[in-house]
């Protein structure tokens, strides 16, 4: 079969690599292989607007028919890659077909971690794919109670969305507060207070011991014996890179594919997005990866953007938008610059008094541009206070 560039994973990183390759002037064949039957779609709304019904399925599309046609990308959907022969440069598919490549881009993303107590019974959900989201949405329209296991972005966002739909929500998390590893303790406490204020029961520092129910889930039993009854359970305890299909290749590593700065994983092989070992799983990181990989394949060292963009991610919690720039950490001190966490109107910075490493904004998008500049230069807290008020 035809060679050219084969991108495995019809993900955000996958489709953006294809689109960026064309923009870079790459004129070889491009084949995009996806395990799911769907065209590439955008995942962030799956835990928010799509779940509540505010965002229609067609609004999730990352590419139109015209774009696919004009970019001359061959979509091979519903096809699971099961292996790579790096010597013969072919990708094997589950149905026995093979696809030859000159350049291979690994963009298979990540999959939900299933704890040992996980069972596939009615009412138990995970959330990663559009199919997962459709199933969860269908359940949420039919139940009155939900347990969310996991206090990360997916868990807290689904808890907020479900609570806003009038469902009784209980969150069970290992950490002392939701989002603590990602955003630090102070923000985590504010997020916890926000959820409790909306009526979500939060069991922190708790582990699930078992799912209750035979054919259909009836709740969870916690490690301390507490039973939380519920008609549905979402298990959102994190993801792991989808690398099993690479077993036996030099790129296989359960922690994710190792790459160089331009996304190279090996001879004629690149990786982009959540499947990359160092990936934090952020939307903005996937599109940045795609740009570097496309530039490298096209034979350019990558156009440096006129403005350097620091790491960026966000989370929607009820009507509040939390935006994070740069580097943060569990033990990082958060220094307020504008407003307060309690009011959920806030600009704060991470780092030291003399040099900030990151910034967190809650419902303050107008300050994002200035904070980007201040994070990029590692400004002092005093400078931040003087420049942002």
């Amino acid at each position: 079969m035809a060679s050219g560039t084969v991108i495995v994973g019809a993900s955000l990183a996958g489709i953006r690599t294809a689109q960026d390759l064309r923009r870079e002037g790459y004129d070889g064949p491009i084949t995009l292989v996806g395990e799911e039957p769907e065209r590439p779609y955008d995942r962030p709304p799956l835990s928010k607007g799509f779940l509540s019904g505010a965002v229609a399925p067609q609004e999730l599309s990352l590419c139109s028919d015209d774009e696919i046609g004009s970019a001359a990308v061959e979509l091979v959907l519903g096809a699971r890659a099961v292996g790579v022969d790096v010597d013969r440069r072919i990708v094997g598919l589950a149905d026995g077909e093979t696809i030859g490549y000159d350049n291979l881009v690994i963009a298979t993303g990540a999959a939900c971690i299933r704890p040992p107590w996980y069972r596939e019974i009615a009412g138990v959900h995970e959330l990663r794919t559009l199919a997962d989201a459709r199933a969860l949405r269908s359940t949420l329209t039919a139940v009155n109670s939900l347990v969310v296991v996991g206090g990360g972005f997916v868990g807290t966002e689904v808890a907020a969305t479900a609570r806003s739909m009038g469902i009784d929500v209980t969150m069970v998390l290992r950490e002392a507060a939701p989002l603590a590893p990602a955003l630090g303790d102070a923000v985590a406490q504010a997020v916890s207070d926000l959820h409790r204020g909306r009526g979500v029961a939060v069991h922190h520092s708790s582990d699930v011991a078992a799912l209750l129910g035979d054919q259909a889930v009836e709740g969870v039993r916690l490690a301390d014996g507490t039973v939380v009854a519920a008609e549905a359970v979402l298990v959102a305890v994190g993801v792991r890179p989808s690398v099993q299909w690479l077993a036996g290749t030099p790129f296989y590593d359960p922690r994710g594919v190792g790459v160089t700065g331009s996304g190279r994983a090996g001879e004629r092989v690149w990786a982009a997005g959540d499947v990359v070992r160092s990936s934090k799983g952020h939307w903005a990181a996937a599109i940045a990866d795609a740009k570097s990989v496309a530039a490298d394949i096209a034979g350019r060292s990558g156009r440096s953007p006129s403005i350097e963009m620091p790491d960026y991610f966000w989370s929607d919690q009820y009507s509040h938008k939390v935006q994070v720039l740069g580097r943060v950490g569990e033990n990082a001190t958060l220094t307020p610059i504008v407003g307060s966490l309690e009011s959920m109107s806030f600009v704060g910075v991470y780092g030291t008094d003399s040099a900030i490493t990151g910034a967190l904004l809650i419902d303050q998008p107008r300050h994002l541009g200035r904070m980007r500049q201040l994070v990029s230069v590692g400004a002092s807290v005093a400078t931040c206070r003087a420049k942002v008020a």
Binding site: R16, W283, K291, W314, R366, L368, R372
Partner: protein, 67 residues
Amino acid sequence: MEIIVDRSKCAGHAICTILAPDVFEMDDAGKAVVLPTAAHASATEIRDAADACPALAIKMTAGAGNG
């Protein structure tokens, strides 16, 4: 080239105001609007901003570009 911000999609990320500060700014409603100075911006700059919009709210239509 015409630049369109879909206000129903714009989610107030403000990334466009970082990558193309002479093209976009946030209005009082927390939505991005296109500035008059956009006419002098390069197509590449605008494309970077559109690509980086997490809400996929920025569209560019073909036309007399200057980039």
